[in-house]
């Protein structure tokens, strides 16, 4: 996108002679980094708005009546026998933001979301607001997904760099071919095999839940140990497959760098191989991987839904699946919005930070 975008900053050639007509444009041309940042942040808001809007209309246009489902649940749970009165239905519709036409529903939803951070009441846990349901699940997902994704990235970049460095050797060829074969396998498959081996055949690790239910949650060593033990299998499945896909892409970035003149120079200076690898070669190819990490978060979230579901892990993925089964629109939309928001924000932050990490990155050409 950035590669072929028309140059926004036009160098004002009449700077010295006549006073410029517009102060903003001159200021932007003198501060190219700020101009870039403004354009990038603008794009962020366009993307965020677009994605949230697509998600909203997508879920509203799908058939299914959440109010009828709620009434049914009430009837089942509270022996609510008589037919729901029209007044009651109208009240619930009001509360769930289902009155008026689609467009006014959209405006109301966006207003509540943007101004108050309110996602509306959740159906599965009525009357708890959807944001509370999501916030309860969020730490589990961030803990499981965040740690596994970062670990996979670190392992993958290091192993990929070594695989590129030692290209032509047997070990490197094995690692590369394994990565090609396994980088697109769902995490879920690995998780299932791991569960079968470690939970059912050997019986050494738990297959379900996030912590031992006999331990009360809190900041005790016992609880943390239990969380780690229960998180080991789901985390491991994400780390294994994630590492393979990062190995492949890092190796692809690494190999062209190895032919560069400055590496020959470093070798001629008599530097040790390890130092050349870490200080000369790797430093030139880990930056694109940082951006790629931000983009990959969305895909990891997709895969994580299945893993959480398999392990019955109390995170966002499980919440999402339950919400969909119960037609809980506000929670479904909320989870989707959180995922959209985190991916776009991560990419934005990385894009803005990249010029600071790498002086060669110039967006304002």
């Amino acid at each position: 996108m950035t590669a072929d975008a028309p140059p926004v900053v036009v160098v004002d050639e009449s700077q010295d002679s006549a006073p410029p007509p517009s102060g903003v444009r001159v200021w932007l041309s003198r501060h190219p980094l700020a101009a870039y940042a403004i354009r990038r942040v603008g794009l962020y808001f366009v993307e965020l708005w677009g994605a949230l809007t697509i998600a909203f209309f997508f879920f509203r246009l799908i058939p299914g009546d959440p109010i009828q489902t709620l009434i049914q649940t009430l009837q089942q749970n509270y022996m609510y026998n008589q037919q729901a009165s029209t007044e009651l239905i109208a009240r619930y519709q009001q509360e769930f933001g289902l009155t008026g036409n689609l467009f006014s529903q959209y405006l109301k939803y966006m207003e509540k979301l943007v101004l108050h951070g309110d996602l509306g009441p959740s159906l599965i846990n009525y009357p708890t607001p959807a944001q509370d349901v999501i916030l309860r699940a969020l730490p589990w997902t961030i803990g499981l997904l965040g740690i596994s994704a970062v670990l996979a990235w670190i392992f993958g970049v290091i192993l990929g760099a070594i695989a590129g460095w030692r290209r032509g050797k047997l070990g490197s060829a094995i690692a590369t071919n394994l990565s090609i074969a396994l980088s697109h396998v769902p995490y879920f498959f690995v998780a299932l095999i791991l569960v079968y081996i470690f939970a059912y055949s050997l019986g050494v690790l738990p297959a379900r839940s996030a912590y031992d239910s006999n331990i009360t949650p809190g900041l005790s060593l016992e609880f943390i140990g239990s969380v780690l033990k229960y998180g080991l299998l789901p985390g491991l499945s994400i780390v294994i497959i994630g590492t393979f896909s990062w190995i492949l892409s890092t190796r692809m970035l690494m190999v062209p760098v190895l032919g560069e003149d400055y590496l020959v120079y470093a070798e001629a200076k008599g530097l040790k191989g390890w130092r050349i690898l870490t200080r000369y070669a790797l430093r030139n190819c880990y930056l694109p991987q940082i951006t790629a990490f931000g983009i990959s978060l969305g895909f990891i979230f997709n895969g994580n839904v299945l893993v959480e579901q398999l392990f019955n892990y109390p995170g966002l993925g499980t919440t999402l699946v339950t919400a969909i089964q119960q037609l809980d629109f506000n929670t479904i939309l909320g989870v989707t919005n959180i995922a959209i928001f985190s991916v776009l924000t991560a990419v934005l932050l990385l894009d803005l930070l990249l010029p600071l990490l790498d002086p060669r990155v110039k967006y304002w050409k």
């Binding site: 590369t176 074969a181 769902p186 969909i324 989707t336």
Partner: protein, 293 residues
């Protein structure tokens, strides 16, 4: 013309062992899928081996039943063969639809440029970053008793941006080539240039687009099925894995029920990925040898 394309294809395959390996695995799977009715018949020996209570429940793998039977006494090997064929069909249908949509969007955006490109690329970009799985789950929750083709269409809604992105960047680099300028100077119409000048040069990348969207589609459907939220009436390999989990095949040690589908799907994903990387290596000389020896 056909001969020329054929020789070009053969030469391409000869040039890349990886591409050849991927295509061979895919070919074997397609053959298995094509002959799956025959295989199923042979297993059944006159009766339907996938019928409920066709055999005893939970038979262990043996000469009569290579992979044993499931909780309803159905032959697992026959079920897996049939499901493999369904998974491949989904991949083919969704792959073709996504590739066609992706090619059209990529050409309009890349060739026309300007604000059209801006809008289309931003839209594609948005679809690429939205975690599509929630949307897919929601869509399939309402798709009960749909045909295989409808499921393919449903999944391609989310698979086309990948194809569009790959092809667009190639269109961008091709459209400024001298031979395209020459065609334009000689007053060829846009459509003519696209069909006769650009399309033939893009075939390998269209192949990449097809392989990656087919992979995404199979992946997506398997994902839906394994959490039991797949569209009704479609039994693919994911559905068999789901059955294995819910019926307790893991605790009973009936490993063929989930290990075999997983191995087959892993092979399929590996083959598609090998085709992808092989094609890119052959046609993108800068990558040659980069992705591995």
């Amino acid at each position: 013309m056909t001969m020329r394309i054929l020789t070009a294809v053969v030469r391409t395959i000869r040039n890349s062992r990886r591409l050849a390996a991927g295509l061979i695995i895919l070919g074997v799977m397609v053959l298995l899928a094509l002959f799956s009715p025959l295989i199923v018949n042979a297993i059944g020996n006159g009766k339907d081996p996938i019928e409920v209570a066709a055999y005893e429940k939970w038979l262990v793998p043996g000469p009569g039943h290579l992979l044993g039977t499931d909780q309803f006494g159905r032959d697992v090997f026959a079920m897996v063969m049939k499901a493999l064929s369904v998974s491949l069909q989904i991949g083919a249908i969704a792959g073709i639809i996504s590739t066609v949509v992706g090619v059209i969007v990529a050409f309009v955006a890349g060739y026309k440029g300007g604000w059209i490109d801006g809008i289309l690329s931003t839209f594609t970009g948005i679809l690429l970053v939205i975690p599509t799985f929630p949307l897919l789950i929601a869509l399939s929750a309402y798709a009960k008793n749909v045909t295989l083709f409808q499921v393919g269409v449903m999944i391609s809604i989310f698979a086309w941006p990948f194809a569009a992105k790959t092809i667009r960047s190639q269109v961008l680099s091709l459209r400024t080539r001298p031979y395209v300028d020459l065609a334009r100077v000689s007053k060829a119409r846009d459509l003519e240039i696209i069909v006769t000048e650009l399309l033939p040069n893009l075939l390998p990348f269209i192949g990449v687009g097809f392989a990656s969207s087919a992979l995404g589609a199979i992946f997506g459907l398997v994902g839906l099925e394994v959490i039991g939220l797949g569209p009704g009436g479609v039994v693919d390999l994911g559905q068999i894995i789901y059955n294995a989990i819910t019926t307790g095949a893991l605790t009973l040690g009936a490993w063929p029920m989930f290990v075999v589908p997983i191995v087959l799907l892993t092979l399929l994903f590996a083959a598609l990925n090998m085709v992808n990387i092989g094609l890119e290596e052959v046609y993108n000389p800068r990558l040659r040898g980069v992705a591995g020896e």
